[in-house]
């Protein structure tokens, strides 16, 4: 499903080069769950971004769902993301001008899927927010927003879900509820899950833990 081989990422800052990731390799099989952990600045989010095709790497290769990411242009990457990838972010990233329902519908609409509204309503029901379908992000609490984001992430039936600190902005109780929902949806859909977290308790709930420190695997 996801194969990362010897990838490196270097940022140029003036005359200085900053190696953020150095020679990282790992694999995640279909349906497996993995957590990327490490201290702040260790390159966790950068690695997630590269795996999801949000950024370009400088060396090595990443194969996502049989596609070598370095061979795809921006639109090709967008197509992969739309058809095979789901995202959950620490700060929810709902489109503020869209209602909860519309936020969940967008990935399906992009695919040209039929019955997007019906499917989106079913997903909202699954995350327990069917009654908030017409609400905007600003009218929802943090926990509700993240549940909407989860519904959106699963709306295009992704093969793989990338989650960046999915409970980072939530209190413990709400965080645990969202965690539970995430793993339940993941299990039901049979989706591969790669998440970035500081929370070792959350990481321990996954099958693989990828530990980073200073841009290298430890």
């Amino acid at each position: 499903m996801l194969s990362v081989k010897n990838i490196s990422k270097i940022y140029q800052s003036g005359f200085n080069k900053l190696t953020v990731l150095n020679n990282i390799s790992f694999e995640v099989a279909p349906g497996e769950t993995a957590a990327i952990v490490g201290p702040s600045g260790s390159g966790k989010t950068t690695l997630l971004g590269l795996c999801a095709g949000l950024d370009r790497y400088d060396a090595g290769s990443i194969t996502l769902y049989d596609s070598l990411l370095s061979e795809l242009d921006e639109d090709g990457l967008a197509q992969i993301r739309n058809q095979h990838v789901g995202f959950v972010f620490q700060n929810f990233q709902l489109l503020p001008t869209l209602t909860a329902l519309e936020n969940v519908m967008v990935p399906m609409e992009l695919q040209g899927a039929l019955n997007a509204k019906k499917k989106a309503l079913a997903l909202l029901d699954k995350v327990g927010l069917a009654d908030r379908a017409t609400h905007y992000a600003s009218e929802l609490s943090g926990g509700e927003q993240q549940r909407i984001a989860l519904a959106r992430a699963f709306s295009n039936n992704p093969k793989i879900l990338f989650a960046d600190e999915p409970t980072g902005n939530l209190d413990t109780e709400t965080g645990q509820k969202v965690e539970q929902l995430l793993f339940n949806l993941n299990r039901d859909a049979g989706t591969t899950l790669v998440l970035v977290t500081h929370d070792l308790e959350l990481a321990n709930k996954t099958e693989h833990i990828i530990r980073l420190k200073g841009g290298v695997l430890v």
């Binding site: 950024d55 921006e74 993301r81 995202f87 990233q93 503020p96 967008v106 609409e109 992009l110 600003s138």
Partner: protein, 846 residues
């Protein structure tokens, strides 16, 4: 790609921003309104001129001559009389009118008429019958403004020359005449049959002889004129037909509406600049949403198209609003311009003007919006992971497509101005001028921000520093506001300055010791008596000049015929056409300076006369010192050699001449004289005019003070028209300013809430905002005034050849007016941001 989805997303995304988006686009509404109103007005005016051309000229054919007709010319006129259905004759000249009841005198335009002119249209008089009855008796029609000026009424007596006339009616409207032309030289119609008895036709002054003809319907008048063209030219007869009137009048008014259209276009450009700036901030706010869409699989062109669809939508609404407003403004334009128009203009809707307004508005607003909008294509989905604050999202630079858009804008403006100005040279100059103004204002804004960032003293109170810092914070609107307000100020200041230059030019010449009264048409036999009378009235005779009229008949022995046959000779046929008024004297005036050759004071018997030419006249004739010119001085051929060239200061209030003869050549030619004097006040002016007109009825008098007041009122009227259209730029500047404040409102609320949470009082927040807008207004108005001063100086130096001294009162008025208005609008529109409770920001979405 799913176009419907794009539109649906654009609609959804706009949901929470519609009022703001409409506000952005309101900046272009006024510009489009001005363009539509002017274009529709121009079209209606042209239509009316076409419809009313016959009544503008009043006949099918008008033939005029600046001198009495020769035998051959008479023959030609007689043959035309035979061809025509009816005809009329008119002698037109300037003379003094003396209102007997109160002794008032004034220089008027006398139109001595015989026949049923006008054949088309009518002389509008009160009573209406007077237009027909005055020809049969010793009666006249007097311009209504004259009657008002001298408190005269129908039935009163006016003396013209040696004859008393009874006023038959008040002249309300004459075909083809505008209110402005009437105010310069008010008209009196009299019967031609009585002209000789007035004694006015005997004088040497210029009489314009006019013949009007009416032909049968569908008679090919233009073909006839074309057929006789050579004869007309040989006989120095000018012709005017309905078609040529249509063309000439139409052309002058097309020039006027094109110019006004260009002023309106500046308002649109300012508005587009405001739109561009607003969209820039809007797009920056939208970047996180774009990144999310990209993250969940939207392609870059899809996200771009979502926002493009929004812009097209709001631009269409803006353009339509502009069109509606334009249609309303169009109703007012005929009233604003009424004094300049020879015809009544209707206010019909012009669909072509509406389509043109929509297309220009949409294209301009789209082009200007594309500059910030193109950045949407470059938004990386990585922003969803990396950036938490949209302030840090940068908009990419150095995009080839963006450069193409800049190029398109320049091409669009150049082509538009080319159509307005009908000259590539002028349109490029216009684009360069506007670009220069943009660059100067842009540079000023950038320098201000840099200077504030580096040099704001830390010792200054916090509220000042914070207010000034607002001018260079992220998402600031400093550049756009300085450009918009500065350009608007420059436009208005230029109008004031140019009006000042024109008035100064005349006012200066009326300063102390300069003549302010000109007496002309004085016969040789009268000149000494007139001078004596002036002296007896304790007034000075400042200048006494003989004037001899003549025509140029050959340049270096080439006649008009030779020049017409051989274009390689390099002389213009027009050099031979007009009447030249020359003088003779032995010494030059202080206003004249020899630049080439030598001035000969007296010509000896048998010598070829060595004359002196004004150097710019010599340049037009393409002649130099040593070349030979031959003149026809009222039937006598006089060969001359150009002995010298002179630089003449035409700005002085005195008689100046293009051709100057030495003594001993034309001294005995038929001539008339001009005497100049200076009167200390209106009372003395009226007294001496009355005295002179009574004693010498043929003499015409120009009162410079009267000319000045007429000029002042004309400039006021012209200024009002231009200011009316220019006001669209100022109003656009205000809308742009309000839009800029609205756009940064949320950011301001956040800042103010934070400051209030930290303990800032409302007064302190007020001072911070006030500092920001006051500096913005001051700097924009100062830069605008400087730009206007430079432009006015260049105009004064190169075009008007006058000195330019900007009026301090105008400068102060604009400086305080514009800065005060900016400050007021800034504070007024920020009041909700100043009054927000701190809690509101916690729930506020981006």
């Amino acid at each position: 790609m799913n176009g419907w989805w794009i539109i649906k997303m654009a609609w959804r995304d706009s949901r929470k921003n519609r009022s703001r988006l409409l506000f952005f686009i309101s900046s272009i509404v006024l510009g489009i309104a001005a363009l539509v109103a002017i274009a529709a007005f121009g079209k209606n005016l042209k239509q009316e001129i076409d419809n009313q051309a016959a009544s503008l000229i009043g006949a099918d054919l008008e033939i005029s001559s600046g001198k009495p007709l020769t035998v051959s010319a008479h023959k030609l006129i007689d043959s035309l009389i035979n061809l025509s259905q009816s005809h009329a004759e008119e002698h037109q000249f300037a003379s003094m009118a003396n209102f007997i009841k109160n002794g008032g005198t004034r220089l008027v335009q006398i139109r001595a008429l015989t026949g049923a002119y006008p054949f088309y249209g009518a002389l509008e008089t009160s009573p209406a019958a007077a237009a027909f009855t005055f020809l049969d008796d010793q009666k006249i029609l007097v311009d209504k403004t004259l009657l008002l000026q001298f408190n005269a009424a129908v039935g009163d007596t006016v003396k013209l020359g040696d004859l008393n006339f009874q006023i038959a009616g008040s002249l309300i409207n004459t075909p083809g005449k505008t209110v402005i032309s009437g105010s310069v030289a008010p008209t009196i119609f009299m019967p031609l049959s009585l002209l000789e008895k007035t004694g006015l036709s005997q004088k040497g002054s210029r009489i314009n002889y006019k013949y009007y003809f009416r032909f049968l319907d569908n008679y090919p008048v233009d073909k006839l004129v074309e057929h006789l063209d050579d004869q007309f030219e040989q006989l120095s007869l000018r012709t005017e037909t309905i078609a040529s009137t249509k063309e000439n009048t139409g052309r002058s008014f097309t020039d006027l509406t094109d110019f006004l259209g260009l002023v309106g276009f500046i308002a649109l450009m300012l508005g587009c600049l405001g739109v561009s700036s607003s969209i820039h901030v809007y797009v920056k706010e939208k970047l996180p949403s774009v990144a999310i869409l990209r993250c969940i699989g939207a392609r870059s062109h899809q996200t771009f198209l979502i926002y493009l669809a929004q812009i097209i939508g709001i631009s269409t609404i803006g353009a339509l609003s502009g069109v509606i407003l334009g249609a309303i403004v169009q109703q007012v334009l005929p009233w604003i311009l009424k004094d300049f128009l020879p015809v009544n203009v209707r206010s019909d809707i012009s669909w072509s003007a509406i389509v043109q307004g929509i297309l220009i508005g949409l294209s301009m607003s789209l082009l200007f919006s594309l500059i910030p909008l193109l950045s949407v294509r470059k938004v990386s989905p990585l922003y969803t992971l990396r950036i938490q604050s949209n302030d840090r999202l940068s908009i990419s630079k150095g995009d080839a497509l963006k450069n193409l858009v800049y190029l398109c804008i320049i091409i669009f403006i150049t082509i538009f101005s080319r159509f307005q100005l009908n000259s590539w040279y002028q349109s490029i100059a216009f684009v360069m001028g506007i670009s220069m103004a943009f660059v100067v204002l842009y540079g000023t804004a950038v320098l201000l921000m840099k200077a504030l960032r580096q040099y704001t003293p830390l010792s200054w109170p916090y509220v000042w520093r914070q207010g000034l810092a607002n001018l260079y914070r992220p998402n600031n609107q400093t550049v756009m506001l300085i450009v918009a307000i500065g350009l608007g100020t420059a436009l208005i200041a230029s109008l004031f300055f140019i009006q000042g230059i024109l008035l100064n030019r005349v006012t200066l010449s009326s300063s102390k010791n300069q003549p302010n009264m000109v007496l002309f048409d004085i016969q040789s036999s009268q000149k000494d008596e007139v001078a004596a009378l002036i002296k007896r009235s304790k007034l000075p005779v400042l200048q006494k000049t003989p004037i001899v009229t003549m025509q140029l008949t050959a340049i270096n022995n080439y006649t008009l015929e030779d020049v017409r046959k051989d274009s390689t000779l390099g002389f213009s046929t027009r050099a031979f056409g007009g009447e030249i008024r020359a003088t003779y004297k032995s010494t030059l005036d202080p206003s004249e300076k020899i630049t080439d050759g030598q001035w000969i004071e007296k010509s000896m018997v048998g010598d070829t006369a060595k004359i002196s030419l004004d150097q710019s006249y010599a340049k037009r004739l393409k002649v130099k010192v040593g070349d030979r010119l031959q003149f026809n001085v009222q039937g006598v051929v006089i060969p001359t050699i150009i002995g010298s060239l002179r630089e003449v200061d035409w700005n002085r209030m005195q008689t100046n001449f293009r051709v100057l003869f030495p003594l001993g050549v034309i001294d005995n030619a038929p001539q008339f004289h001009v005497i100049m004097t200076r009167v200390p006040n209106d009372r003395v002016s009226a007294d001496i005019q009355q005295l002179l007109v009574k004693r010498f009825p043929n003499i015409s008098i120009i009162d410079l003070d009267l000319i000045l007041s007429v000029l002042d009122s004309i400039l006021d009227k012209i200024g009002f028209v231009i200011k009316f259209i220019g006001a669209f730029s100022i109003l656009t500047g205000i809308v742009v300013l309000i839009a800029a404040i609205m756009i940064s409102k949320y950011q301001r609320i956040q800042e103010n809430v934070l400051l209030r949470t930290l303990g800032a009082s409302r007064r302190q927040l007020f001072t911070i905002t006030g500092c920001e807008y006051l500096l913005l207004g001051l700097l924009a108005s100062i830069t605008g005034i400087i730009l206007a001063s430079i432009a006015s100086f260049l105009l004064a130096f190169f075009i008007f050849e006058a000195s330019f001294k900007p009026s301090i009162s105008v400068i102060l008025l604009l400086l305080f007016g514009v800065s005060g208005l900016t400050l007021f609008i800034g504070l007024f529109n920020s009041r909700s941001a100043l009054n927000q409770p701190p809690l509101v920001v916690l729930r506020k979405e981006v």
